[in-house]
Amino acid sequence: MSLKGKRFLIAKPGLDGHDVGAKVIALALRDAGAEVIYTGLRKSPEYIARVAAQEDVDAIGLSILSGSHTELVQDTIRCLRELDAADKPVFVGGTIPIEDQRMLKDAGVLEVFTAEMRVEDVLAVIDRAFAS
């Protein structure tokens, strides 16, 4: 795996308080040798983009289960662009209906993960994004 030594920002945009998925993935990334910055709850897209740029992370994971992913993801990607940080891969995890998954990918998200996926598989997908 090429996750070792990589820096990740795991973020909770918006008001959603469900942080299980974010923390489980953060723990798994850490165990795989990556460095993880977790924002905690209730962060604005502006804040998340700023931290991602300042900390010069290698990738960003956004976790949203409140149904407001469309706006929050688009806003975060827009803020990343404004900070010239749009080259960082963005992953999204949460309760995301199939039709919205396509829309998020069109907006620039590299991959969307849902609760039923195995953590191992999620990490493999992230890993492959770096391998190429």
């Binding site: 918006g14 008001l15 959603d16 942080d19 923390k23 309760t95 195995r118 953590v119």
Partner: protein, 548 residues
């Protein structure tokens, strides 16, 4: 970059597609090893108490459901107050016996709809109730003297309770007639669910204010519902769910005693709330053990003597994270089994999740089916005919004893750490919960815990089609914003400012009960954001300890 699409397909494939699982586990999810058979000599300390008698293992009332069936209370709310009012009338029309209000995140976290943090979340996971006029619309045509209403509200529970009282005033319903519940359990919000606002200590004060006020003014109302459900859905076991909840309960009792409350009085109105997941006997015994342990703790530690103050009243939700997006119709069966466990465990109110509830706002059709599930259990199955029908079963009595011991151990660990308040301020319970969530995920990922349709018994071309899709009316957000502006234009802004100042001054003094001030503010159409901002100026905001 690799082709994202093929990655996705690869990651969705499970190891077990062609495989059958092994024999079902001999352990419960709380890691209690279940014997092949339980014999009478394994239950030496059989509890001789009858239902309605201390320590209430078999139930809090002598006649159980013969006295009264549980309340059928489906959690519901979305978009604007108008749409939610329509859904309530639909559910009441189909035989629901209590309302349960789901609020949107801005209302729960104390933001007005116009706040930039609120905009993307308006009406998404519940109804938007930013001020009294919205609550008036919500209960339009619903008689509050005859309808019991539960609000899943925590950070802003005091404000929503104040709005509810203001609507009752306007409907000329005497306060002593009001029945219902506000969740008002902030401690678990810091660990799971996350709708905290203020730091822990002033939040505890606000909760004590609501409980003490409610005991006097709305004696039939439950001013708190101490909840384990959200710990559970965040990853912990049934044993920990009950242990964390009772530890929180003790923290509230301590706070209320400190405030001069009479434990024999306020304990009569403490209520509880749990999840029911799939391990049938563990769930039944969790409730029997919890009932017995809570009564014993109150009696032994606080010398509570009033039997009503020792009765462990609880509501449940069947579903949550035990439901899957994979093969969603399987969820109907799961909820039916969980519903049975809730009844055999003696719940006072039950919410059965719709099979699509974990992924979308239920449609009318799925919501009706969830309600019908309860009605079938209540009226066709016959399980409510006698109190605690499983009482005396060797397994059930053995497992009740075992779970009680395990739960008490968990409470002991929290107390050793310094109690629930400290464990939460430090992020200790948050860390334990996150680690437990990881273990739970590992056990389903590895196939050790079987989830039918998700990690076993899938079919090759499986699509997670859950039938009808709910779409929120795109106009409802616009409606919420427009109404908000209208209220702000119409009200007496000078009066609002004066009342908010009074609220702020009262908040600065620990001895003042804030409820009368909040009710005044609500009557004047002060908004939730204004009231919360006023209190934040006095108390500051919670800073999340990030530990995992």
């Amino acid at each position: 970059m690799t082709d994202a699409k093929s990655d996705r397909t690869a990651s969705m494939r499970t190891h077990s597609e062609q495989q059958q699982p092994g024999m079902p586990s001999t352990q419960t999810p709380s890691a209690i090893e279940i014997p092949v058979v339980v014999t009478p000599d394994m239950v030496p300390t059989r509890d001789p108490s009858l239902p309605g008698e201390y320590p209430f293992t078999r139930g809090i009332y002598a006649e159980g459901y013969r006295r009264r069936l549980w309340t059928f209370r489906q959690y519901s709310g979305f978009g604007s107050a108008e749409e939610t009012n329509t859904r309530y009338r639909f559910l009441l029309d189909r035989g629901q016996t209590g309302l349960s209000v789901a609020l949107d995140l801005p209302t729960q976290c104390g933001y007005d709809p116009v706040d930039p943090m609120a905009r993307p979340e308006i009406g998404k996971v519940g109804v938007s109730l930013s001020n009294l006029s919205e609550v008036e619309i919500l209960f339009d045509g619903i008689d509050l003297s005859r309808t019991s209403t539960s609000f899943t509200i925590n950070g802003t529970a005091a404000m929503i309770y104040a709005m509810y009282l203001a609507v009752a005033d306007k409907q000329s319903v005497p306060r002593e007639k009001l029945t219902g519940t506000i969740q008002n359990d902030i401690l678990k919000e810091y660990v799971a669910r996350g709708t905290w606002i203020f730091p822990v200590r002033p939040s505890m004060r606000l909760i004590a204010d609501t409980v003490l006020f409610s005991n006097e003014e709305t004696p039939r109302f439950n001013p708190i519902s101490i909840a384990g459900a959200h710990f559970r859905d965040a990853g912990v076991t049934a044993v920990e769910e009950m242990g964390y909840t009772l530890a929180d309960g003790l923290a509230y009792v301590d706070e209320l005693v400190k405030r001069g409350g009479d434990v024999n009085q306020f304990s009569r109105r403490l209520s509880f709330f749990f999840y029911v997941h799939m391990d049938f006997f563990e769930e039944v015994c969790k409730f029997r053990a919890g009932r017995r342990l809570w009564a014993r703790l109150l009696k032994e530690r606080y010398a509570v003597t009033d039997p009503d103050a020792l009765r462990f009243r609880f509501g449940v939700v069947c579903g949550g994270s035990s439901l899957t997006a994979a093969q969603p119709y399987n969820n109907i069966v799961r909820v039916g089994i969980e519903n049975m466990a809730a009844v055999l465990g003696g719940a006072q109110s039950i919410f059965t999740c719709a099979y699509d509830e974990a992924f979308q706002i239920p449609t009318e059709k799925s919501a009706e089916l969830a309600l019908r599930t309860q009605q079938i259990v209540a009226y066709e199955s016959g399980v409510a005919r006698t109190v605690d029908p499983l009482g005396g079963s060797y397994l059930v009595e053995w497992l009740t004893d075992r779970m009680e011991q395990e739960i008490e151990k968990v409470i002991g660990e929290i107390e050793e750490y310094g109690g629930a308040v400290k464990a939460i301020e430090d992020g200790y319970l948050q860390m334990r919960t996150a680690q437990r969530a990881r273990l739970r995920k590992q056990s389903t990922d590895s196939g050790e815990q079987v989830v039918v349709g998700e990690n076993y018994f899938r079919h090759a071309d499986q699509k997670n089609d859950f039938g009808e899709v709910f779409h929120l009316d795109p106009q409802s957000v616009k409606r919420v914003l427009k109404k908000y502006e209208q209220v702000r234009d119409r009200r007496n802004n000078k009066a609002v400012t004066r009342l908010l100042n009074r609220l702020g001054e009262a908040a600065a003094k620990d001895s003042e009960n804030l409820m009368p001030y909040l009710i005044e503010c609500c009557h004047a159409y002060a908004t939730i954001g204004e009231m919360v901002t006023t209190l934040k100026q006095q108390w500051g905001e919670f800073v999340e300890p990030v530990r995992f």
